[in-house]
Subunit: 600 residues, 2 copies
């Protein structure tokens, strides 16, 4: 409880352990790197959309602290075994997998603490679906998290996939698992219930929360009915749909790859993570293939970003990523980067914008490490640098940005630049305030005045990833519901403000990790294209991102100095002075204005 009170679980716990074990000093692909696997205190308790868990490590793609958060049913399974977290350390000598919580080598109940080490045998080299299927044959009631060929081969954006086709997608944690020669983590079937101090109180809060989820138009209709793909047309109309490696912000083929087209031509049925009443996931089909997704960001990555308007090809590319265990955003955007390099004559025989066949073939080539695929497997930042044009990688801290062009929604640029795991929309997405008007509409072209809102979202998401519950619930639920749920689980009163302070604390701890790893203000930036190339036409015509004043405002509002280092006052207020000292990060300098203002 002492640790839980400060770090909650999930992402927060991973941050704590990554700092304690000094992962900022290790090579991400060495045996010294760790993989922390952790559900949160709400996981499996019946709290809405709480079937989630985090994996935390140092990313081989970005070098930053990196946690991924996934749904499905793996997090629940961990808690049914009575465990709050696992740490995967070291490496196997030969490819293998690990079973946990099984008595003996199968899943005979009751579950025991035994960890079994098994040779991977013919599982090594298998794709994701067949690995998961084979493990279910071997261990019928098990839940597994596995890597595909991409992770085995060390593709820097390989994912980890668990049952129900949900992934720890970004940052290449699949390559960390691959470097440990670990094909799978297999959990036996436990029968414990996660501890809840006051079950009746929790039940009542959940009942209330579910009413809100049912009443909210986004969680009751938009997400279940249309999934995330509904955003293609929305972002295109706003002039914020990055197109052809961010050269444009509207895509003439948007209608052809829209959520509406996906529903018409490919949707088979909805699906959901365990116990989730939102159910945003999709089962789709193309030709004789069926599979999960694609999500909005995937449609964008292989569609608009590559200039491809052939939705069937996009769906096939998505399936190919799911099979190989590859992050779709980085894969698509890296192909787009290769396309631009090709068109500039820098990549002989490379793919060209709009080539629908190329996107499917290049996913396979990347998973196999063949031909151009070997270079693509490094991600766009290394690919673009190899060919002399590092500026053409549409990434931040080497993580490819997703499907929202900051020139059409300025604070999204600040969100990318300050995200502590790189170009990512899951630390905080300004889609709500800048495009959808949730919780409040703000001027999407304004440069200043949005840092505070962004910070609040970042802190809240740090809480949600640590509890761990799905961020989509926050469309309908306010902070006090999470605090009350946690209060019922702990048998205490938890104030919403207190919970948000823990989110701020986790965010600052993550910042300390990255500072210890050598990141500076210079890394809090965007590709030069977004800073200097005005959008040519459409609703965002003439716009670029004026980042320096936004960063200044953000640092002031965070209580960081001009170099982006938390001041002593801020560290003290958050109880992080010893953490900073242990990581060897000196506090930021006092500022003439702003950063010390939080001192009472």
């Amino acid at each position: 409880m002492e640790v839980a009170r400060l770090w909650l679980g999930g992402r927060g716990l991973g941050t704590y352990l990554a700092l304690r074990e000094r992962l900022f000093e290790v090579d991400p692909l060495s045996p010294e790197n760790l993989l922390v696997v952790a559900p949160g205190p709400l996981t499996g308790t019946g709290a809405p959309a709480s079937a989630r868990y985090s994996m935390t490590s140092r990313s081989p793609l970005t070098g930053t602290l990196f946690d991924g958060n996934s749904g499905g049913s793996f997090g629940d399974a961990l808690r049914r075994l009575g465990w709050d977290y696992l740490i995967v350390s070291g490496a196997l000598d030969e490819p293998g997998y690990v079973t946990l919580g099984m008595v003996g080598a199968d899943d005979a109940s009751p579950a025991g603490p035994a960890a079994g080490f098994h040779s991977a045998g013919d599982l090594w080299g298998r794709d994701v679906p067949s690995t998961l299927a084979r493990l279910r044959e071997l261990y019928p009631r098990s839940e597994a998290a596995v890597i595909g060929p991409a992770g085995e081969r060390g593709v820097l954006f390989a994912s980890i996939v668990n049952n129900r086709g949900r992934s720890i997608g970004r940052g290449g944690l699949g390559a960390v698992m691959g470097a440990k020669r670990l094909k799978a983590l297999v959990l036996g079937h436990g029968d414990r219930r996660p501890p809840v101090a006051d079950p009746e109180r929790l039940e009542f809060i959940v009942y209330e929360a579910e009413k809100l989820l049912k009443a909210n138009p986004i969680t009751s209709t938009a997400l279940p009915e249309f999934g995330t793909a509904v955003l293609v047309n929305v972002l295109d109309r706003a002039g914020a749909l990055p197109t052809r490696n961010h050269r444009e912000t509207r895509f003439e083929g948007a209608a052809a790859i829209s959520g509406e087209a996906l529903k018409r031509d490919h949707l088979r049925r909805r699906s959901a993570c365990r116990g989730c009443m939102i159910g945003c996931a999709r089962r789709t089909a193309v030709g004789d293939q069926t599979g999960e997704g694609p999500e909005y960001e995937t449609i964008w990555a292989f569609g608009a970003q590559c200039g491809v308007s052939d939705l069937a090809a996009v769906v096939r590319a998505n399936y190919a990523c799911n099979r190989a265990g590859l992050d779709t955003i980085t894969m698509g955007s890296t192909i787009a980067c290769a396309m631009e390099l090709t068109e500039l004559g820098l990549l002989p025989d490379g793919p060209r914008f709009g080539d629908a066949r190329a996107i499917v073939e290049l996913v396979a080539a990347t998973a196999a490490g063949e031909g151009l695929g070997a270079e693509l497997g490094l991600g766009s930042a290394r690919l673009a640098a190899l060919h002399g044009r590092p500026d053409l990688s549409m990434s931040v801290k080497r993580l490819e940005m997703p499907a929202y062009d900051p020139r059409g929604m300025k604070a999204q640029g600040l969100a990318y630049a300050t995200s502590n795991r790189g170009g990512c929309h899951l630390r905080a997405n300004m889609l709500g305030p800048e495009i959808l008007g949730v919780p409040k509409m703000v001027d999407r072209f304004a440069t200043l005045g949005k840092a505070g809102l962004l910070i609040n979202l970042q802190n809240l998401n740090a809480v949600l990833d640590s509890l761990s519950v799905c961020k989509f619930t926050a469309f309908a639920m306010k902070e006090d519901y999470y605090a009350r749920q946690l209060g019922a689980v702990w048998g205490e009163t938890v104030e919403p403000q207190e919970l948000l302070s823990l989110g701020e604390r986790i965010w600052n701890a993550e910042r300390l990790f990255n500072l210890a790893a050598g990141f500076t203000r210079d890394d809090d930036t965007l590709p030069p294209r977004l800073l200097h190339e005005p959008v040519a036409d459409g609703p965002s015509a003439g716009q670029v991102v004026d980042l320096p004043p936004m960063l200044d405002e953000y640092y002031i509002s965070r209580g960081w100095d001009e170099a982006g280092v938390p001041t002593a006052v801020k560290l003290e207020r958050l109880g992080l002075l010893t953490v900073a000292a242990a990581a060897g990060v000196p506090p930021g300098r006092r500022q003439a204005r702003g950063a010390d203002a939080d001192a009472p």
Copy 2:
């Protein structure tokens, strides 16, 4: 339409006319001052909670531009006569009243344009209820806005009251009417319908909006069931209930004057403005008196702020204000100021904290201009200055702050300091984000990071006051509903962002007015007590407001220079360069960082 497109109506239109007529140069109590009476484009169209109108003038209390916004049914009546606004100019030689929209001297239909000037006769000197009642006898189908004895006598915080007991409360516009010797504006009964270009579209949007109002817990339950008085206990528990002239932030008598106690002992029934489905108003009784209210701010002003825990006395003081036509916040807080002066020995024979009889008697004395009442009628800023302690007035720009102590919710302090009509919670109330978690919970003790959110609220409220609809609808409705309603009325498409930009434009225009009237950054401040006297105990113990960095952040986010003057870039972007030039306000200086960042 040319004016409406830039200024909407209501408060925006009042701002436009006040600038055009250079009211920043006039003495507020001279015949040269104007009173602009204006409903908005949504008033009376069937849009939810739209039975509102604004009066705009230069305030005799603050010297700033000042608009008040009132519900009831007077705004509807104006629109039924087919009028978008009235300007009251000059002054009568003898006390009188004006009838408008009547054929002849009575209200025989159909309504005509005739304005009738009438001697006030025995109406002069009457209190508010009997004036309204007498006018209804004379003109049975009329609607009236009247002043009471306080307005006649020039009390600097006299209100204007219309039928259904709703008021233009703050800023002393009743004294402006009194200085014009105008007892009442009486409107005949018109039969026109406000123009709506696309009634079917509007009807559908209203249908959708009403569903949201019915689903939202605040608009469907909290406000109708409990009214605003429910906040007494909420603010007390947060340590943000100003007590005994802001010497403390918790009140030991909070339970005795709470909304719960009001409901138990005094509530008779709910009431509502015309056509409003929220219905937050209350009909109450004490002894043999019945009346409207008291609202939360009134309970606080006569209760906690004066150290009075006798709820019956608070209700009586409230009724006395309603009869005399007095603003309850300023009245209560001015008495509290007198109480502190008395306890310090600066006001011989003055009232003491906790004296329940004094609060009722002093309201009557103020309305009558008798004894200490004559000084109280000047408001607390002038009273405290008269007795050598200007720091003891709990006001900003001479307007008394309402019932939220900024030491327990820091951005509320910024809201008061930057409010362009003085210490007021209706330009933007941080109660939502800082206490209730609506739309998002923020750290109430944090100094920085909240300016952007505040600005957004200020801009939105400028829109709502100009449309003109009740701010309470914004608990349930998003910006796009207002934009769509206005779009249906105009027969066009109005983007939510566009509408918020108009709000920003109005806010900046109001700033220009105040700059032209001589206000500077030094006026954007708080009473020294809030800046330098830490709260002694309770949840806000040790807190003060560190205002300078908050103002810096606010000015940067507003695109103003360090002196609080909009820069040329900002003025150009808002189309206000000529307005600024006409008012003789040179644009702000360029800033090293921040303020010019909005230039594309």
